[in-house]
């Protein structure tokens, strides 16, 4: 028995596998860096968005400020009718010409940083990640990273991140036929502390004037009652809740699945005699929504995945509890 030969062979095998994808860890790290930058940087910039399906283009101003209370975000559409979202750690408001509407924010909101090691692992299972180019966006030097799915149940994501901070400055989502599903890019960006903060919600003051409770209570859903047979491989359930949704009488069960990059939510809502419900497929950019009625429930699937995937998931939701 020639042990030297075996050792040599083992050496070659290990060398081959490590050379096959030498930058593999670094690529996934980019996503972590981007997530970190998105939550921790102060920035303000102009942003062009195009919904690939509808073809409409919107120009918006985005501002993100972090203070001792947490993150404050503002997205203001600059063309067309007024639509603006302002969020603080505990509140989200949609502002239109018709007025301000409070959007609920659920307790149990993910704790930052949300990209846990297992998520990075999932990412590598489902996507081939590679750095494709260095470039410039909004006058800033960026690195472009491509996330190409290993099946056609997900979209391809291409992201351009600031080489220094990791902030995402441009993103394109492409389907399996190379059609652009949505894309956005900053055309101008200011980083740092010299940013207008006059719009920020001062929480204690704002809270006292509110009628509705600050955060919607969340109960743990009895997930065992519901089976989703055809969740695409690589998606794992990350969260499950049961909470009241605005203008609904009964609590909604909400299951969240993630493949490390895209998310799929399954909502199960008691119909309670309602008749005018929306069923079928609708979309906006990367987000697809599919609803159907079964077991006297409205089942709605929302995800950053192709239409076929939300339909597959929605059609496979099955009641597995006691009738």
């Amino acid at each position: 028995m020639n042990y030297n030969y075996l050792i040599l062979l083992a050496y070659f095998i290990s060398a081959a596998t490590s050379f096959a994808d030498p930058l593999r860890d670094d690529q996934a790290e980019w996503l972590k860096t981007m997530a970190f930058a998105a939550h921790q940087s102060n920035y303000s910039g102009t942003f062009v968005y195009q919904d690939g399906v509808g073809g409409h283009v919107d120009v918006s101003r985005i501002t993100h400020v972090v203070d001792e209370n947490g993150e404050h975000e503002r997205l203001e559409k600059l063309n067309g009718e007024r639509r603006e979202i302002i969020s603080s750690p505990n509140q989200v408001w949609l502002i239109t010409n018709q007025g301000k509407v409070r959007i609920e924010r659920r307790k149990g909101k993910r704790i930052f940083p949300a990209l846990l090691p297992e998520q990075i692992l999932m990412l590598k299972e489902n996507y081939v990640i590679r750095e494709v180019a260095e470039d410039r966006v909004a006058g800033i030097h960026v690195h472009a990273v491509l996330f190409k799915p290993k099946d056609n149940l997900r979209y391809t994501h291409k992201m351009w991140a600031d080489s220094q901070t990791g902030l995402l400055l441009k993103a394109v989502v492409i389907d399996d036929r190379d059609r652009i599903i949505e894309q956005y890019a900053f055309t101008e960006l200011t980083l740092g502390d010299k940013i207008d903060r006059s719009w920020m919600i001062v929480e204690p003051l704002a809270q006292s004037s509110l009628k509705s409770p600050n955060v919607v209570p969340v109960l743990t859903a009895k997930t065992t009652d519901w089976q989703i047979d055809a969740i695409p491989s690589g998606f794992k359930m990350t969260q499950h809740f049961c909470y009241p949704l605005k203008n609904r009488n009964r609590p909604v069960t909400h299951l969240v699945f993630s493949d490390g990059l895209a998310g799929i939510s399954v909502f199960i809502e008691d119909l309670a005699g309602r008749e005018n419900v929306n069923v079928g497929l609708s979309s906006q950019g990367v987000i697809q929504v599919y609803s159907r009625v079964a077991w006297n429930k409205l089942i709605t699937v929302v995800g950053e995945v192709p239409p076929n995937t939300v339909i597959q998931v929605g059609d496979s939701v099955r009641y597995a509890g006691v009738e």
């Binding site: 998105a38 062009v48 968005y49 919904d51 399906v53 073809g55 409409h56 283009v57 919107d58 120009v59 918006s60 501002t63 993100h64 975000e73 997205l75 559409k77 063309n79 067309g80 009718e81 639509r83 979202i85 949609l94 959007i103 924010r105 659920r106 993910r110 940083p113 990209l115 180019a133 470039d135 291409k158 992201m159 995402l168 394109v172 036929r177 652009i180 956005y184 890019a185 055309t187 990350t238 969260q239 949704l245 203008n247 909400h254 969240v256 998310g263 939510s265 929306n278 079928g280 497929l281 609708s282 979309s283 906006q284 929504v289 609803s291 709605t300 929302v302 995800g303 950053e304 076929n308």
Partner: protein, 160 residues
């Protein structure tokens, strides 16, 4: 003048107007900046492999050295005169939107014409459906996509 540049880029000016744009571009650095920005944004959305990094410098250089021989095709004037703009802040943005929309349409058409049989599903937009919007907002609160895209994720609730 910036609208003229935009129209010029789309080949929608008559010769004399184009000459006028070019001669003003030559003198005015602010207009050169606008010219550069329009191209950058166009590039950004059309996703080329490379941006023209020193576009401004090279453009200027060529403008200096080349004689202006400009012979656009004669054609019916399209609606290049755009629109009245009210808010000063959104002026630039509006001009861009108009221009970008035209670009998008021009690029989409051949693509659709080439492969009509592959267009399987064209779902309706949910943007005006508040009930679905509630679900989308709730989804985005927990989706890993939001972690990476940050504030930009809210665009789905603002875009119509």
């Amino acid at each position: 003048m910036k609208q003229n540049i935009s129209a010029f880029m789309d080949g929608e000016l008559f010769e004399d107007e184009a000459d006028n744009v070019l001669s003003r571009l030559k003198k005015n650095s602010e207009l050169q900046q606008a010219w550069q920005e329009y191209h950058l944004i166009g590039d950004a959305l059309r996703q080329p492999d490379y941006f023209a990094n020193d576009f401004s410098a090279r453009f200027h250089q060529r403008l200096e050295t080349e004689p202006i021989v400009f012979a656009p095709r004669r054609r019916v004037m399209q609606k290049a005169r755009y629109f009245a703009v009210s808010a000063a802040a959104s002026m630039m943005a509006l001009a861009l939107v108009a221009w970008l929309s035209m670009q998008v349409d021009q690029e989409r058409t051949p693509q659709l014409a080439l492969a009509p049989q592959t267009l399987d599903i064209r779902p309706a937009s949910f943007s005006n459906n508040n009930e679905i919007n509630d679900y989308v907002m709730a989804h985005e609160e927990f989706s890993p996509t939001t972690d990476v895209h940050g504030v930009a994720s809210y665009i789905h609730s603002v875009h119509r």
